[in-house]
Amino acid sequence: MSTPVAPVMRTLTQAQLHAYADASGDHNPIHVDPAFAATTPFGGTIAHGMLVLTLIGDMMFAAHGPAWLASGRLKVRFKAPTRPGDTVTASAGEAKQSGEVTEYAVQCANQRGEVLIEGRASVLAPA
C-alpha cells in the first residue's frame, strides 16, 4: 500500500518573503523591493521559487520522513509567479510504485487554481 501524501497549504506574505530573503541570502529586489518590483513586468513582488517549492518538500517529508531526506528526488518547473497574499496548496497525485521507488506527480497551485509549480517527486520506499 502506498504512503498517503496530505496536501500542505500556506498563505505567503511580504513579511515572509523578507524573512526568507534573510534566511537564504537571496535579496533579489523582485522579491523584497515593492517599488522596484512595481516597475517590472510582474507589477509587484513575487515569491522566491525556492520558497514556494518548500511546500512540496514539507509535504513529502511529512509523508515519508527521513527516507525523503536521504533518497527523495524532485524535478519541477516553475510555471507562474506567486504573489504576497496568495494561498498556495501543494498536493500530490496518486502514487506509482516501480520497484522500490514511489513516484508522485506534484504541484503547487494558488487560490485561483493557477498552477505555480508542477513536476514529479519520488522516494525510495523505506526498508
Binding site: 500556506r10 515572509q16 524573512a19 526568507y20 534573510d22 534566511a23 537564504s24 541570502g25 537571496d26 533579489n28 517590472t40 522566491h48 521559487g49 525556492m50 520558497l51 517549492l53 518548500t54 518538500g57 514539507d58 517529508f61 511529512a62 527521513p66 525523503w68 531526506l69 536521504a70 533518497s71 527523495g72 528526488r73 524532485l74 524535478k75 519541477v76 518547473r77 516553475f78
Partner: protein
C-alpha cells in the same frame, strides 16, 4: 565580490566551474530557514535538502549577476544522503548545459553539496536570462 565585478550568468560557457565554497548549516541557520518557510516539521539533526540548495543558489549570486528579466524556470534536486546540521560542507557548481534562442540564454547550473565523505545533494537549476552583450 561587488555587484560591479560580477559577470552575467548568460556569459558563462558550458562546463564552466565556479569557485568552490565551504560552509556549515548551523542549527540557527536551519531554524531561521524553517521559520521563514513556515515548515513546522521536526527534522532532528538533519537539514532539509532544499535549505542547502537555497543557500547554494544564494552563494552563487556572489559570483554571478542575474540580469533583469532572468527567470528561475526549473529545479531538480536529488537527495543522496542526509545533510547533517553543523558539519563542514563543500559546494561545487558548474554550468552543466547552455543554449541560446532568440537572445535568451538558458543555463542549467549543477550544484553538488558534499561532506568529507560523499555527495549529499545534487541539484540542477534552470535559469533563463537575457544574452550577454558581446
Amino acid at each position: 565580490m561587488t555587484a560591479a565585478a560580477r559577470t552575467s550568468i548568460s556569459a558563462f560557457p558550458r562546463g564552466h566551474e565556479f569557485q568552490a565554497t565551504e560552509f556549515r548549516l548551523s542549527q540557527p541557520d536551519v531554524e531561521a530557514y524553517l521559520e521563514a518557510t513556515g515548515d513546522r516539521n521536526a527534522y532532528g539533526d538533519a537539514a532539509p535538502p532544499l535549505c542547502a540548495v537555497a543557500l547554494a543558489l544564494s552563494a552563487l549570486q556572489d559570483q554571478i549577476a542575474l540580469p533583469e528579466g532572468s527567470l528561475h524556470t526549473g529545479q531538480e534536486v536529488d537527495h543522496l544522503a542526509l545533510v547533517p546540521v553543523g558539519a563542514p560542507l563543500r559546494m561545487t557548481t558548474r554550468v552543466a548545459q547552455r543554449s541560446e534562442r532568440q537572445g535568451i540564454v538558458i543555463s542549467v547550473i549543477e550544484f553538488e553539496v558534499s561532506d568529507a565523505a560523499t555527495v549529499l545533494v545534487r541539484a540542477r537549476s534552470t535559469i533563463m536570462a537575457p544574452g550577454a552583450a558581446r
